[in-house]
């Protein structure tokens, strides 16, 4: 129900923007800035790259919104841009977090766990990682994930399951 209301609101905003209402883009940006940022951050695992990705995503949206044909839902279109931008993103070198594993105090342990999760997610293929993010963090169904990623529902489920299987192996020391 909420999604339907969102879709209607999205559509109205898209049409307002197409008719020259610049503020409609602001409203769409406000509505989706946090979800898009979260997806970008979870994918690249650092703030600088996440912000760069988000800028690229919304620049593409701003540039192409007038050509959005309304055949799919706006959020599906937006997330597809986000996913394709994330998957094609070439990670820039960042300083690796150096952790001394000989001092396992709780704070250090959390940092080590975070690094372990970073490393594990970095080892997942892009589509598996994205399927996992969309399912686990964004709560989309496999049908929706398939639609967003441009693959079948079964493929979306398979990607998600493969991601969990690999995380299970990569994070076995933390289980």
């Amino acid at each position: 129900m909420r999604q339907n209301i969102m879709n209607d609101e999205d559509l109205l905003l898209v049409r307002r923007y197409k008719n020259g209402d610049e503020k409609a883009f602001d409203s769409l940006f406000e509505m989706y800035k946090h979800p898009v940022y979260s997806i970008c951050y979870r994918y690249v695992r650092n703030e600088a790259d996440a912000q760069e990705l988000m800028l690229e995503v919304f620049t593409k949206v701003y540039r192409n919104l007038r050509r959005f044909n309304e055949r799919s839902k706006f959020f599906t279109w937006l997330y597809r841009i986000t996913i394709n931008t994330c998957i094609s993103f070439k990670r820039k070198s960042h300083e690796e977090l150096e952790i001394d594993s000989s001092i396992p105090n709780p704070e250090e342990r959390n940092l080590m766990l975070k690094k372990a999760i970073d490393d594990a997610l970095a080892k997942l293929p892009g589509r598996q990682k994205m399927a996992f993010i969309l399912r686990h963090y964004e709560g989309y169904t496999f049908d929706e994930i398939g639609e967003i990623m441009g693959i079948s529902s079964g493929a979306a489920k398979a990607n998600h399951f493969q991601a969990i299987r690999k995380l299970r192996i990569l994070l076995k020391d933390w289980i």
């Binding site: 602001d26 940006f29 800035k33 946090h34 940022y37 979260s38 951050y41 979870r42 703030e47 912000q51 988000m54 800028l55 919304f58 620049t59 701003y62 540039r63 766990l113 975070k114 999760i117 399912r135 686990h136 963090y137 399951f161 969990i164 995380l167 299970r168 994070l171 076995k172 933390w174 289980i175």
Partner: protein, 184 residues
Amino acid sequence: MNKKNNKCQFQERVIDYIEGLLDAQHKSIFEAHLKECEVCQKELSAIKKIYAMMDNDEVVIPAEEVFVKMKNRVRQQEIVLKRPLWKIWSILIPALGVLVFVLLFNRQKEQSLEISVPIFSLSQDKYFNVLLLERIIDNNIVSQFNILEEYFTEDVEQGLKDLTTDEQQKFIEIITEKYGEKYL
């Protein structure tokens, strides 16, 4: 039950079970199996821990001004993309106008020189010198004229008649090349 080298044929169903993808009948069958199968119990426990770990992995949303700046940058980038087209046309159109004007002006100037200095007038020294002094003609034309001069008498028509056919032909070629056919 169904165990072989720490594997279970229902192990793959653990994720379906956690994700709530099993229908009521399969769910009750799996739960009954789970009570007896250590492999699936371990698998369930491990995957639940993975999910818990991932749940604790929170995203720190940046401050609001980061998003405000980002939104402004989105528009600026779009303006940067659009601007060259506008700039190109706004510069190109006046530049083309100026170029066309200059070309036409220069063309007319050249034509006016040729139109205003007929060869017949140049045969009269007084006109020739005036034109030279007023810089309407330059030394290059003077030297060209010197070549032609030998063909001229006071009466151009008579002078031309006195020329042999070859000389007339040569004269016509020189005049045509330099000033065009309209003065002949």
